[in-house]
Symmetry: C2
Subunit: 306 residues, 2 copies
């Protein structure tokens, strides 16, 4: 039986980002995959977060989440410094260079689930060590839907664990370069078939300014990216996309080819707002009405007669 | 009054291409923008070609066009060698390096229009010197629709002539890098607005494996690229796209936002076949039935409920 108000559990990072953007530089920007994803999910469904921050992390940043209705009781505050990432974006924002990564308290992160989180219906396993993603799965006995992200680092170093994870999730949400590496084929379609053969019912490929693709039993689907006139900061757009998708699906009666396709359009819309502000600036104040208005425009971008 | 069977005039290059593809190397491949475009246009509408070849160009390659119904009386055979391009593709086919360009007879190309061509209703001005594109326009007094292509070389060296051309065409068909350079903005949407302000009612942006975008008075439209399982050779796919678009439009009662959007979907479909063979191999044998079947699939790729 489907619960009337299913909750989404997000596990991921919370971080300080130092960003060198074409338009400005910004230090100590509150970021991390769990932060972006939670701010997107909370637009649609109740959401709880498991993450770790250091003693230097401002309480106001946690309050910013709880003010949006996010259950933050699973955010652990550990002795030490918060995970920090520094990056520089190319002028066109299409590529970025990591300048520095300080794992700090994130290096010893072991997700600790409050008892109440174990009944979560929807899981979004952010990009953390696959052994930790598996551990979270072990602690949520009966999820209705599980989505996971990963990255080249784990694909190269922890393939067996990742393969184990893939057998246990509904949807893998990765970018096109990660897909090519995981599927060991430069051809997106063949790589997608190989990855789906490892387990996930759905593969969702994030392609930045080119939108997103879905591969499922019904075929392939494209959601375009909303073309922005002002692109400020793409940091977290992929996590925002994943968070919005899972939040949207948690609202749906059925998770099927139709709702997932609509979910991709919604997720592309929400992610576009993320790029309009530095860090979580824009996503943190987003409303359902903002999303609905832009979604209407996005629909017209793929509409043709005949 | 609209004629019942409007003809498309294509002006462009005919060439030998030496291709270093990931899967094979091929020399003396028959190519050139006019060749690819004509083979695509002829699927939909009567087509005539203005181009120049050298004495080394095989008559069989011209016959291959006329066998498909293409009027080849405007193909001039000049003393000397045919235009030759040599290129090497990256393993993923997403980028290529020009190894050699020999303009040969193309260096002195002056489009000579047979008298019967002057009444052409639809024009596709391939990527040649903008002064020559303008000269062709001067010789076709009353076209119903004019599309043109160009490249970075002319954008950098012949901007004033190009700006003059833009005032006189309906649609500019270029790739995203050319758009950024011509619009002097890395943001696609702003660059598109600047280019359209120079004249063309429609701007069509080719984005390779990411499909194509249209900017017109009705907004923006995305046509996805058909995701191929076997990508062999992208040479000429952009010209095939443009040729199919103009050919499709020549068949339509109205050229409006709806028919142009449908045209983009058709053009994306036809262009996908081009990539499945070396050179014109696949496009040269394509049928309307092949196109219709794949177009049905392409439509599903952007279809969502609700």
């Amino acid at each position: 039986m489907t619960k009337s108000n299913p909750s989404v559990l997000i596990v991921g990072s919370m971080a300080f980002d130092d960003l060198e953007l074409p338009t400005e530089s910004a230090r100590d920007v509150i970021g991390g995959s769990a932060t972006y994803a939670a701010l997107a999910t909370c637009l649609f469904a109740p959401v709880r977060v498991v993450a770790v921050v250091g003693t230097d992390f401002p309480e106001s940043a946690v309050t910013a989440l709880s003010d949006r209705g996010v259950d933050t009781s699973g955010i652990e505050r550990a002795e030490g410094k918060t995970f920090r990432w520094a990056g520089r974006y190319a002028k066109n924002l299409a590529s970025r260079t990591t300048l520095d990564t300080q794992l700090n308290v994130f290096a010893d992160f072991r997700p600790k689930l409050p008892e109440s989180y174990r009944s979560s219906d929807f899981l979004l396993l952010g990009n953390i060590h696959p052994s930790l993603q598996l551990e979270v799965l072990d602690n949520v006995p009966n999820p209705r839907f599980v989505a996971a992200d990963t990255m080249n680092f784990w694909i190269e170093r922890e393939r067996p664990l990742l393969v184990e994870l893939l057998r246990r999730i509904d949807s893998l949400v990765i970018n096109d370069e990660e897909l090519r590496e995981l599927g060991e084929d430069h051809n997106i379609r063949r790589a997608a078939a190989r990855v789906r053969a490892l387990g996930p019912k759905r593969l969702i490929v994030k392609r930045g300014e080119y939108g997103a693709m879905l591969f499922d039993d019904h075929g392939i689907f494209f959601a375009p990216a909303y073309p922005l006139e002002e692109e400020i900061d793409p940091t977290g757009a992929g996590d925002t996309f994943a968070g919005a998708l899972v939040g949207f699906l948690a609202q749906q009666t059925e998770i099927d080819d139709s709702s997932v396709r609509r979910g991709l359009m919604v997720a592309a819309t929400v992610a576009s707002f993320c790029v309009e502000g530095v860090g979580t600036q824009r996503v943190a104040t987003l409303t359902r009405a903002d999303v609905a208005a832009r979604l209407d425009t996005l629909r017209t971008l793929v509409h043709f007669g005949g």
